[in-house]
């Protein structure tokens, strides 16, 4: 019988505030150990936490972006446990009433969109770091990270397998950067995911016993870890065993998860409301203000691209992975519409798809930032393709020249003499030359070898330095082959 893999994801997103969630110390990454830990962060006797309003604002942004309910009143609690990098002996975190409740995120899968429900998002402080390198046999403690604001975003167990989990993580990763609440830097730990994985028989409505895989700091590791963990669980169950609820770590070296601690070892955190902090109260007015300042979200832009612009879902998905890129493309498209009002809409979308590929290639290959490509120039370039001034091949050349700083597309086309030859007389002349010089291919074509035709087209294009209008070349060539 087939197994179904069930995954829920918990993400810790470091919020993009200048100072810590409960102190004025800087949150910048990479400083010398313990140089960004103030009296509050190292928990000196007598110090008290003061909530950073910016952290709250960023949390509310996410809440609105995912359509969650913003708690008008939420509570900070203390999670008590001893660890050397937890200076107070407790972590301040939201427990019973989080700042954001519910909400959802749409992910794009090959078979279409799927909605992943969010349980909650709550504010909390990060711990410091224990440095287990050798300090004369001791462990070093770096409290620079202690007190960095985190938003923990928790999903329902809505993902079925590693691919969906990764699609969710990517969508969330894209969203938090889109709305400017997290830099998404996974190497520096700004965006960390834990995956709750369980398996069950297909058709079953009950959830299996889950294992939590901690600290997956890349999408690749997340996929590998879930795939491994699910097959491990299936193996255990199929050999008659039972899954122990436990926390597991993914060993990236060997690509396996291993047990870290079992449920029996789970600590009693003795949560209780932090008496040093008042309930967090957010007014309707504040929520409305923050909402009004939010940019249009990726899901909405994607929907617009598909419904109004008639882009394919895949194209819309790629374009909305990043807000700058989406806004850039949107500006380009609006220019293009103006320039090519009378063009066949399908041809326009195809040309836009070509532009998207070229932008992607330039960004990937040349490391060009999308802002360096001026949307209005790009629109002119694509308009020249659509009005048959240049071919796609020539467009690539013009695009490269644009990126090299040679100016506007029309200038480049003019200067380099790249204008497409649409004069049938001129094309006819080139075709005659090619036919005369390639008697063998002409013979082959006439004896039924269609391939020979393509070779002849290639020859004509080459002789015209790529400038001949391909459609016309086709037509004239066929006509002349038939005639002679």
């Amino acid at each position: 019988m087939a197994w179904e893999i069930v995954v829920g994801i918990e993400t810790h997103a470091q919020l993009l505030t200048h100072s810590k969630i409960f102190s004025g110390a800087s949150t910048a990454f990479g400083a010398e150990p313990n140089t960004q830990a103030c009296a509050v962060d190292i928990a000196l006797p007598g110090v008290l936490p003061v909530l950073n309003a910016q952290a709250v604002e960023l949390a509310v942004r996410l809440g609105i972006a995912v359509g969650g309910k913003i708690s008008r009143k939420s509570i900070f609690a203390r999670k008590n446990y001893f660890y050397p990098d937890l200076p107070k002996g407790y972590q301040i975190s939201q427990y019973e009433i989080p700042v954001v409740q519910g909400g959802s995120l749409k992910i794009v899968l090959p078979e279409g969109e799927k909605t992943i429900r969010l349980t909650r998002a709550h504010l909390e402080e990060d711990a410091g770091k224990s440095l287990h390198e050798d300090f004369q046999g001791m462990t070093g403690i770096d409290l620079n990270r202690a007190g960095t604001p985190l938003l923990e975003i928790v999903t329902e167990p809505d993902m079925r397998g590693a691919k969906e989990a990764v699609a969710y993580a990517r969508a969330l990763h894209s969203l938090v950067r889109w709305i400017g609440i997290c830099d998404g830097n996974m190497q520096e730990g700004s965006f960390r995911c834990d995956a709750n994985v369980s398996v069950r028989k297909v058709g079953s409505n009950e959830l299996g016993t889950r294992c939590e895989i901690k600290n997956l700091n890349s999408f690749l590791f997340m996929e590998q870890a879930i795939v491994f963990e699910a097959s491990r669980q299936i193996e255990v169950l199929e050999s008659g065993g039972k899954i122990q609820q436990e926390t597991r770590l993914f060993d990236t070296e060997i690509g396996e998860t291993r047990a870290m601690r079992s449920k029996e070892d789970a600590q009693d955190y003795r949560y209780f409301p932090d008496p040093d902090l008042l309930p967090l109260v957010i007014s309707e007015k504040e929520i409305n203000r923050i909402g009004s300042e939010l940019p249009e979200g990726p899901e909405s832009v994607r929907k617009r691209f598909v419904d109004e612009y008639h882009f394919s879902m895949e194209m819309a998905f790629v374009l909305t992975l990043d807000r700058v890129r989406a806004e850039h493309f949107d500006a380009f498209w609006k220019q293009l519409l103006e320039l090519t009002a009378n063009v066949d809409p399908i041809a326009r979308v195809q040309a836009a798809n070509f532009a998207m590929m070229e932008i992607g290639a330039a960004m990937g290959r040349l490391g060009i930032a999308v802002e360096e490509i001026l949307p209005d120039r790009l629109a002119v370039l694509i308009a020249r393709v659509l009005d048959n001034t240049i071919s796609h091949r020539i467009a690539k050349e013009v695009f490269s020249a644009m990126l090299a700083g040679e100016g506007a597309p029309d200038e480049i086309i003019e200067k380099r003499g790249l204008k497409q030859i649409s004069d049938s007389g001129a094309i006819g002349k080139i075709v005659d030359e090619v036919l005369a010089a390639n008697a063998k291919q002409v013979e082959d074509y006439r004896s039924g070898k269609e391939k020979a035709f393509n070779s002849l087209v290639g020859q004509v294009m080459k002789r015209s330095q790529g400038k001949a209008n391909p459609a016309q070349v086709n037509e004239i060539l066929r006509r002349k082959l038939k005639a002679t």
């Binding site: 000196l44 006797p45 007598g46 003061v50 001893f82 002996g89 403690i141 003795r270 008496p275």
Partner: protein, 486 residues
Amino acid sequence: MLNSTVTELSDALAARKISSVELTRLFLDRIKGLNGRLNAFITVDEERSLAQARVADERRSGGRAGRLTGIPVAHKDIFCTRGIRTTCGSKMLATFKSPYDAHVIERFNAAGAVLLGKTNMDEFAMGSSNETSHFGPVRNPWDLDRVPGGSSGGSAAAVAARMAPAATGTDTGGSIRQPAALSGVSGLKPTYGVVSRYGMIAFASSLDQGGPLAKSAADLALLMNAMAGFDARDSTSLERPAEDYTRSLNDSLQGLRIGLPKEYFADGVDADVLARVSEAVRWFEGHGAKTVAITLPNTGLAVPVYYVIAPAEASSNLSRFDGVRYGHRAKEYTDLNDMYRRTRAEGFGAEVKRRILIGTYVLSHGYYDAYYLQAQKVRRLIAKDFTEAFARCDLIMGPTSPSTAFALGAKTDDPVQMYLNDIFTIPAPLAGLPGLSIPCGFDAKGLPVGLQIMGNYFAEAKMLGAAHRYQQATDWHLRAPKEAQL
């Protein structure tokens, strides 16, 4: 001079009858002479105090002196002070030097007051007799075999024995008012949120509140003008306009409604205490006030509620004392957990451990609802009792403590008896209300009796006004222990 009130000393300084350096030296000498027996101070740094006094004198010469400029003030060793150690009465912090000043200390520094020394206290403010201090018990100046009350016992004894004209304290369940009563001085616990807790080492965050101890209500008002005020570093600090706490000192008592809760005049209170408190109430009646019989029906629940909430918060607040970053660390240990265990076993005394255990227990999974949550509910009922009472009266009066000072060691083996001693002082902090204790006479053994005056939120000035009227007509607050017995 030693017997003068802060108000009088301030006038003497202003009239250049004495300099701050002279005044400070006078009290430092007094401390030197008495502290060996009374043990009211944990740390005194004469040079530091005199240097501050010199600065105060210069400030006065420069014409920039305020009411407290040059006045020596002793601070409970729970307030963090830069440059002089802050122990909180514990071995855990026996050598701890804070790199920053508490808000209260900043305020006194800004006013130009002189830090006279750090006073002894129950360890982490947990105690009602000052016997849990790592630095040994404080003795009551009225009878050296008796306790001064706690936890601000050092501050109360220092004022009573004229080792300091005024002192700061903190009150969580009575730690200002009860030692004030037992040591025969005046002490005020303000409304929760009026005095910043920043730099005040936390015992139970939702209850802790700093306040002054001095000879008179008028002095308390002067000290409050320096101590109170909004501090953005304490999220529970209340942002409200600055008050002049002396503004109502001369208000008439005419028409003042004094509530007398029947639960505070019941069995279990010493006869002498009841007699002295009743005499004081009659004085108020004789001077224009009216008494109203009221009831605070949940008074009996205050002690159990307190001993759930305060230890719960304490168990978490004291987690930071783990030997990792500062404070005591065990010399030998095998691993991290062993380091924690030994450090905390060695660093904390028995009472602190008891409360950490109680607090850990009541917050534990499966017990939280029955203890902590239930206690919070009852806490609201206790606050409601007061809300209803203050609809019918302006101030509430009763005994501060059911008994006068008890003998050293008398209750150390019976924590519950010790806890019950705070029955009348615990309700006000549970409700966040202000409470004041002033001397109102002596029992048959010659031990001071305290009258407690409670008011509604922010009624400090009114409470101080009533107390001041009483102190103008009586001299209980000016009585000092006999020099011969010190």
